[in-house]
Amino acid sequence: MKPQMKLVPDDPHISWAPERAEKTGVAASVRSISKRFKKVPVLDDVSFDVAEGESLVLLGASGSGKTTILRIIAGLEQPDTGRVILHGKDVTDLPARERGVGVIFQSYALFPRMTVEKNIAYGLKIRHRRRKERRETVDRLIELVQLEKHRKKYPWQLSGGQQQRVAIARTLAYKPQVLLFDEPFGALDAQTRVHLRREIRALLKQVKVPSIFITHDQEEALELGDRIAVLNEGHLEQVGTPDDVYNHPATEYVATFLGAANLLLGVVTRGSVEIGTARLPAEKETRRFRDGQSVKLVFRPEDVCLSPDANLPETCRRLANGVIEEVSFVGSYERLNVRLDLAHRPQTGELTAPLYQVTINTPEKMVGVPIMATRPKPEANTTRYKTGDRVAVGLTSFSLLPNYTLARQR
């Protein structure tokens, strides 16, 4: 049943975002939000912006306060201090229904007594739009989310993914200021999850509505977000592009929460980092630290390069020697546990020798620091390692974080 006439010409890139007089470029802005629940602080001075058409992911463990932020933006919760600004308008004191925000709840919250069509038309119905306008919008949206065959069905007759698409269409119908997704894939199995988030990503690129996602899944965050905001116990640790937060984590928490990370303690010494007896040249990275400052060296398992002789690739900076402790295949890559020797004091002339005798893995002398490394399959197939092999260990990239002993020094 296609409509005879369409108000807007069929353009795949039609925007469902509301028209605005003022184009500030910032769709939503959260300024210094703080919130306590019965004296327990849940949010502490959180601020971030979402640009027009951008999707931002709020990433955090459960209890980090991410759902509270979402509810505050939606108007379902009041902040103790701070403002919420949507498209230049301060909405902090407006009730939820006057904010024009689209929330996709984790449970989808579709109205059980309404069909797919009626669910989608609800926003227009309560705005007393004409029947004709309602029908045209619903037709377009049902086409957009590809539910033509299911328009007369009730929510309980739909799969999780279909329900979610109805929930999105239901919010798009009234051209929301911003879309808020509360753990959108939490209730789905792993396979559907991956499939759906690609679908949603594509859909959002098409409708160009700024969106905020909430998740505790770092993989999901990296895939869905134009930018990621990492939240830890109520404060923002870092906001940045997926590349930023993954490759240049600003804090130890970000480094360890987004994927696996190795952490070593070191001291800055004239353009390099001293970790035990090892010396890692880091001219650029140490620039913002002073000599003698204690730092944390953070690097990802995939940034570790190994060599059975001392010939590490040129992109790799040598860290130390080590011994392979364990080799395991994890599907698409190989994972290696390596124990680094960071206590060896080289004898004179020994530095030239590529690999000195490493004695750290004898049962009596379990010294050294374990790290994790991963290698892609082709590399793993060319050079095979087994437990006990001695290797030179280098790093292709790493980041340095100040090592504060007290949290409040942050």
């Binding site: 939820a96 449970s107 919250a109 109205f111 059980p112 309560i126 929510p155 239901r170």
Partner: protein, 280 residues
């Protein structure tokens, strides 16, 4: 089914017919036979006699009065039960549990006590009645007294059915409605109320069934005046006292059939009612 039966006693599960039989045998003298006897005695003098006792003006009036007073009591208690369930389920306030207990009390209070309490309040010498009487307002011994008595004794029924549905209803439905832009009233009308439909229907039927059969409180507050304040159960009682068994019996049959219909609807509408809650 067959497999488990084989495992019991050589192809036949004895426990099954025995347990079913025990239930039926116990129910026979306690429920089935009394009900059956109403029908047997009521029609023993022929259907003509039954019909004429049923169409006696007093009988018709008593039935009508019962239905009308029960109807208004039901309307009031469903609306109030809905409001009370909403308030007590959504808002936490000091003394909330005390209110819940108080609302539920009439289930346990003997109906004669309920009638007596109403008399003490509204009667000519009651706390309120003393003030109203000089104004010419007389509540007791009128149909309004019967409605008041019905409201009192059926007070917790609708509330008791609706409140659990409110308690288990997901808040996110109402929150979704609010973020979409609905006012509280629109949310209640379009989202909350449809989910409560089953609970409202069953609450109303229970209330109505209970109110139609109310006797103990009604006899105290109504004065039991034929053609004025005599409800169907009171009519049965009065005719029985006068020795007119057939007249009493005819109305008894009607009341028995009415409750049978009401509970059949409740039972067979259960699938439909459960559908309401499953998606909440």
């Amino acid at each position: 089914m067959k497999l488990t039966a084989v495992r019991h006693v050589r192809g036949y599960d004895v426990a099954r017919p025995v347990s079913i039989g025990v239930v039926l045998v116990i129910m026979l003298p306690l429920v089935f036979l009394p009900l059956l006897s109403i029908f047997i005695y009521g029609t023993s003098k022929g259907l003509g006699a039954f019909w004429s006792s049923l169409t006696a003006p007093e009988a018709i009036f008593a039935l009508k009065l019962s239905l009308v007073t029960s109807f208004w009591a039901t309307v009031f208690n469903v609306v109030f039960g809905l409001l009370a369930a909403y308030v007590l389920s959504r808002h936490d306030f000091w003394g909330r549990n005390a209110v819940i207990v108080t609302i539920s009390l009439p289930t346990a209070i003997p109906t004669a006590v309920a009638g007596f309490a109403l008399l003490l309040l509204w009667g000519p010498y009651g706390t309120l009645g003393r003030l109203l009487n000089p104004q010419g307002v007389q509540v007791m011994f009128t149909p309004y007294a019967i409605i008041l008595a019905n409201i009192f004794v059926t007070f917790p029924l609708a509330f008791g059915v609706i409140k659990p549905v409110f308690d288990t209803m997901s808040r996110s439905l109402e929150e979704a409605s609010a973020t979409i832009g609905a006012t509280r009233w629109q949310t209640f009308w379009h989202v909350t109320l449809p989910s409560l439909r089953g609970a409202i229907v069953s609450g109303a039927l229970l209330t109505f069934a209970r109110a139609v059969g109310e006797f103990g409180s009604t006899i105290l507050v109504s004065g039991n005046l034929a053609l004025r304040t005599q409800t169907a159960p009171l009519y049965i009682f009065a005719k029985f006292n006068e020795g007119q068994i057939e007249a009493a019996n005819a109305i008894a049959i009607v009341l028995a059939l009415l409750s049978f219909v009401i509970f059949s609807v409740l039972f067979f509408a259960r699938d439909w009612l459960e559908f309401e809650t499953q998606e909440a």
